[in-house]
Amino acid sequence: MTLTNFFYYFLNGIVMGSLYVLMAIGLSVIFGMIGIINFAHGVVYALGAYAMVLVTQQLGYWPSFVISPILVGLLGMVIEASFLRRIYVGDPLRGLLFTFGLAMVLEQLIRIIWGPSGFPYLIPGYFAGTAKSMASLGIEFSRYRFFIFICAVGVIFGLWWFIEKTPYGMIIRAGSRDPEMVRILGISLKPIMTMVFGLGAALAGFAGVLAAPLAGVQPSMGDNVGNIAFVVVVIGGLGSFWGAVLSGLLVGEVENLSILIWPPIAQSAMYILMAVILLLRPRGLFGERWERFE
C-alpha cells in the first residue's frame, strides 16, 4: 500500500463523507427544531435526484442544479404544513410513525409515477473524466467528485453562517433549546418549523442532486444513504452541527479505508464505530445535554 494509494482512499472518503454530512445536517436540524426523527429523509434524497433528472430534461443542467433542491424543499414545507404540524402534540412516537409511513408512500409514488426501473443520468460533459490539475501531482481523481466536495463545503459553510449569524438562525437555535421561551417572547414558531423542515428536505434533496450522476436514479436509491445519515447523526450527537460534519467525514473515511484494509468488515465498520462512540460518549461526539430530550 503506497502513500498515493492511501491518499486516493482518503480523498474518496472525504467526498462520500461530505454527501453524508449534507444528509445528516438536514436530519439533525429537523430533529433539533421539531423533535421528529425523520424516517423519510432517504426518500427525499431520491426525490432530489428525480427532480434533477426531470428538470434537466426541460431546462438543462445548471438551472436544474439550482431549482431541484428548492422544489424538494418546497415539497417538504407542504408536507410539514399539511400533515406533520398536526401531530406535534402528544406522543413523539407519532412523528416517527408518520415519517416512517411517509417514506413508504413517497417511494411507492415514485414507482407509480416514474416506474420502478429508474432513469439513466450521466455526468455532465465538463465534469467527465479525471481532474487534469491534479494529474501533474501524479493523482488521477474523478473531476465530478471534486465538484461534489466543493459544493458540499460551500453549502455547509453557508448553512453555518445562516444558523449562527442571521436573526432567523438565532430563532432556530433558541427555538431548538427552549420553544416555550421563544413563544413567550412573542415569536411564532409555526412558520419557522415549516421553514426548518423545508430546509432539511432541501439539504437531502441537494445531496440527491449531487449523487444523481454517480449512482442509478431509482426509487430505492435513498434506502442505504438514509440509514447512513442516521448513524452519522447519532455518532455526531443529535442536534449538533459540527458534530454532524465531523462524524459524516469520519464515517466516509471509515467506510472507504475499511474496504482498502479489510473488505469483509466494510459494511459493518460504521456501526462498530457507532457502538464504540456510544459506549464512550452516550450523547455522541458533540452531543450536549438538552433538557427537552432528556
Binding site: 474518496n12 417511494e107 420502478p116 426501473s117 442509478g216 444513504v225 467506510e255
Partner: protein, 417 residues
C-alpha cells in the same frame, strides 16, 4: 353512544360496511366468475422493491402479455387464465407469498423470482405442496443442480450457460490473461464467481484479485481504486440489479482503461446506466435484435406498455407459455401432471430454434447471445439501442447442451413425483 366528529357512529359504520361487503360478495367479481369454469391461476412472484426491482417490471409485463395473448386465443382447456402478482422482497417474504399463493389463492403453478436466494427458498415450499414452479429470473446453478427439485423448472439461463457463452467468446479472442473479479455478495454472486473461476483456471488465466460487494451498494469508487492499482487485463463482474448500473456508471466516471466482461448481464440495468456508459462484452439470454420475430414482438410490447422489452420480459413470457403449453398437453390442472408434461417440453419462443427442458436439471436448453456495449456515437437513438449482438452460442449447428451444466457435474437427486 360515542359519536365521531362527522357524526357517524361506530355501529352505523359497521352496518354500512357490512352491507357493502355482502353486496360485493354476491355481485362482485367472484360471483360472476363462478358462472364460468374456474380460471387457471398462475402466481407471479417478482421483486417490485429493492435492488432487483428494475428488472421486475419487465418480468410482470412479459407474463401479462403471454396471459393476454392466451386469453385472446380462447384460453386453455376452455378456461380463462388469471395472473396473481406478489412482491418477492427477500427469501423470508418470498416463502410466505408462495404459501399464500398455494394455500389461499389455490394457484395451479407459480413462476417468477429474480433473486436466487428467493428461488431456492420457494423451491422447498413448492416441492412439499407439489405445485410447479417455473423460475424465470434466478441464475444460480444450485437451483438446477445440488439443490434441485422435481417441481422446479427454469427458463432463465443458469450461471454456467451465461459464463460458457461469454467464455466461448473470450477464448476465441484470447482474453484469458490476468482477471480481476468484482462480485455481488449473495447466493447468485458466489455461484457465478465459482463458475467464472473454473473457466479462468481451465484456460490458464491468472486471478489478480477479487472483491465481494454488499448488495445495494451505491458507491463502487473504493473498489474501482483497487482495480485501478492492480492493473488487470480484464475486469469480470458478477454483479446483479442496480449494482450493475452503479458499477458501469462509476467505471466510466473513473475512466479505467481495462476491458470489462460480465458473467450475467441484464439489459434494464444497462439502459439505466445510459448508452455509452456500458462498454465491454456481455452474455444475454435474449435481446430484441437477435432476429425478426423478436424485433416484431418487441415492437408489439413497446406499443402496449411504452417500453421495449428486455431479457427478463422474454424469460417470463416464455415461462408463462411453457406452463400453459404443459397444462394443455397434460389436459389437467394437477401439479404432478403439469410437471410431467413440462419434462422434455418443446417450444420455439422467438429464438428460431427448438428449445426444450432437459430432463436432469429441468433447465430450458437454449442459445445465448454475446453482446457488445455500443458507444454513444454508435447508438441510433442514444436510449434503447445499447448493445450489438455479436454471436449466438452455441452456433446453429451445435447442440444446445454445449453451454449447459456438463452431465459429469450432475449431482441432482430429485424427489418422486
Amino acid at each position: 353512544m360515542r359519536r365521531g366528529k362527522n357524526g357517524i357512529t361506530r355501529r352505523s359504520f359497521i352496518k354500512g360496511a357490512g352491507v357493502a361487503a355482502l353486496t360485493l360478495g354476491f355481485f362482485g367479481p367472484r360471483g360472476r366468475e363462478s358462472l364460468a369454469a374456474e380460471p387457471i391461476k398462475i402466481g407471479q412472484i417478482t421483486p417490485t422493491t429493492g435492488f432487483l426491482a428494475p428488472t421486475g417490471w419487465w418480468a410482470t409485463h412479459g407474463a401479462m402479455l403471454a396471459v393476454d395473448e392466451a386469453n385472446a386465443a380462447g384460453g386453455v382447456l376452455g378456461r380463462k387464465i388469471e395472473l396473481i402478482m406478489e412482491d418477492e422482497v427477500n427469501p423470508g417474504v418470498a416463502v410466505q407469498k408462495a404459501r399464500k399463493l398455494i394455500e389461499k389463492d389455490k394457484v395451479h403453478a407459480i413462476q417468477g423470482t429474480v433473486s436466487s436466494a428467493c428461488a431456492l427458498a420457494i423451491g422447498d415450499v413448492v416441492q412439499r405442496a407439489k405445485v410447479v414452479f417455473v423460475n424465470t429470473g434466478s441464475n444460480s446453478d444450485e437451483i438446477r443442480n445440488n439443490r434441485c427439485h422435481r417441481y422446479v423448472f427454469s427458463t432463465e439461463g443458469c450461471n454456467t450457460q451465461y459464463v460458457s457463452t461469454i467464455g466461448n467468446w473470450l477464448i476465441k479472442n484470447k482474453q484469458f490473461n490476468r482477471w480481476y473479479f468484482i462480485t455481488s455478495d449473495y447466493a447468485f454472486g458466489h455461484d457465478l464467481l465459482r463458475v467464472a473461476r473454473n473457466l479462468l483456471k481451465k484456460n490458464d488465466g491468472v486471478e489478480l484479485g477479487s472483491e465481494l460487494v454488499p448488495t445495494g451498494s451505491t458507491d463502487f469508487s473504493s473498489y474501482l481504486l483497487k482495480i485501478k492499482n492492480a492493473k488487470p487485463d480484464t475486469v469480470f463482474h458478477n454483479l446483479a440489479g442496480t449494482d450493475q448500473t452503479n458499477f458501469y456508471k462509476q467505471y466510466k466516471e473513473f475512466g479505467l482503461p481495462f476491458p470489462v466482461a460480465g458473467g450475467v448481464c441484464d439489459t434494464a440495468p444497462a439502459w439505466q446506466a445510459g448508452v455509452g456508459n456500458v462498454l465491454g462484452m456481455f452474455p444475454l439470454v435474449w435481446y430484441h435484435t437477435i432476429n425478426k420475430e423478436s424485433a416484431a414482438w418487441a415492437e408489439k410490447f413497446l406499443k402496449l406498455y411504452g417500453k421495449l422489452p428486455e431479457n427478463q420480459a422474454w424469460c417470463d413470457y416464455v415461462g408463462t407459455q411453457c406452463i400453459l403449453g404443459a397444462i394443455a398437453k397434460a389436459g389437467s390442472l394437477e401439479g404432478a401432471k403439469i410437471g410431467q408434461a413440462l419434462v422434455g417440453f418443446k417450444i420455439d419462443c422467438l429464438k428460431g430454434r427448438e428449445l426444450y427442458f432437459r430432463e436432469w436439471d429441468n433447465q430450458l436448453m437454449q442459445p445465448m447471445y454475446v453482446v457488445r456495449g455500443k458507444t454513444r456515437e454508435e447508438s441510433s437513438d442514444k436510449e434503447w439501442d445499447i448493445f450489438e449482438v455479436v454471436e449466438e452460442i452455441p452456433h446453429k449447428n451445435e447442440p444446445l447442451t454445449a453451454i449447459a451444466i456438463p452431465d459429469s457435474e450432475n449431482v441432482c437427486k430429485k424427489e418422486p413425483w
